[in-house]
């Protein structure tokens, strides 16, 4: 299981998901209507490290952060 947390404006509690890669997680998240519209605009960090590979593997206990579009300043 991995823990998925949604940052900033995504109004969604953290969830536990069974997934062995980001691609697999993506498929799960796509099924959730409140999350789906965010997916293509979000960046991803695993255990607080930004990742760029959509096929990045996930292992048990990983913490996946979903980062929506930003605007600091």
């Amino acid at each position: 299981m991995v823990k998925v947390e949604f940052l900033g404006p995504i109004a969604r509690e953290p969830m536990e998901v069974k997934a062995e890669s980001l691609a697999e997680l993506s498929k799960r998240l796509y099924d959730e209507e409140t999350i789906r519209p965010w997916l293509e605009k979000c960046a991803v960090a695993i255990n607080d490290v930004m990742v760029k590979d959509p096929n990045h593997p996930l292992k048990d206990g990983d913490r996946v952060s979903i980062l929506p579009p930003v605007c600091g300043g």
Partner: protein, 155 residues
């Protein structure tokens, strides 16, 4: 002090500016350029409000410290968390450098990269309600990897 400072509410701009000046008073930098961002009164907002994801912000900032050090320069930043009323300040970035050219180039790159990639989310505060500033926000570098996966699988 780590050179990256986060505060609840508006920044004390004078205190921060002056303290940074003092911290580098003997460092022999010739140029000090702070960028101070202040909340504009527009479209009926009473404040802006900010969420920050600190672990990733810290990594972003540390990468910038290294980038600045390679050019003989130093960066500092301060940002607000939560509500910041109009005409008060939420953001200061600064560059110290021996020479003006590097300082002028770095402050521009630093501020622009901050806008594009610092994990900070902005909300308009109107009638006490927080409304995500979706139209002013931009996807971070590397965004879309969850969506691309869907396309590839033909969903």
């Amino acid at each position: 002090m780590s050179d990256m400072e986060l505060y609840e509410g508006p920044l004390n701009v004078k205190e921060i500016f002056g303290r940074w000046l003092d911290e580098e008073a003997e460092s022999n930098y010739g140029a000090y350029i702070p960028f101070v961002g202040t909340i504009r009164e527009e479209e009926g907002i009473e404040a802006l409000s900010f969420d920050i994801y600190e672990p990733i912000l810290r990594q972003w900032f540390e990468a910038w410290q290294a980038k600045a050090a390679e050019r003989g320069a130093k960066v500092k930043m301060a940002h607000s968390i939560g509500d910041v009323p109009v005409h008060t300040s939420s953001y200061i970035s600064a560059v110290f450098s021996p020479r003006r050219r590097v300082a002028l180039e770095l402050i521009e790159e630093f501020v622009e990269d901050f806008k594009a990639n610092a994990p900070i989310w902005k909300y308009d505060v109107i009638d006490g309600k927080r409304i995500y500033a979706a139209d002013r926000s931009t996807p971070m570098e590397g965004a879309g990897i969850l969506g691309i996966g869907n396309e590839e699988r033909g969903i």
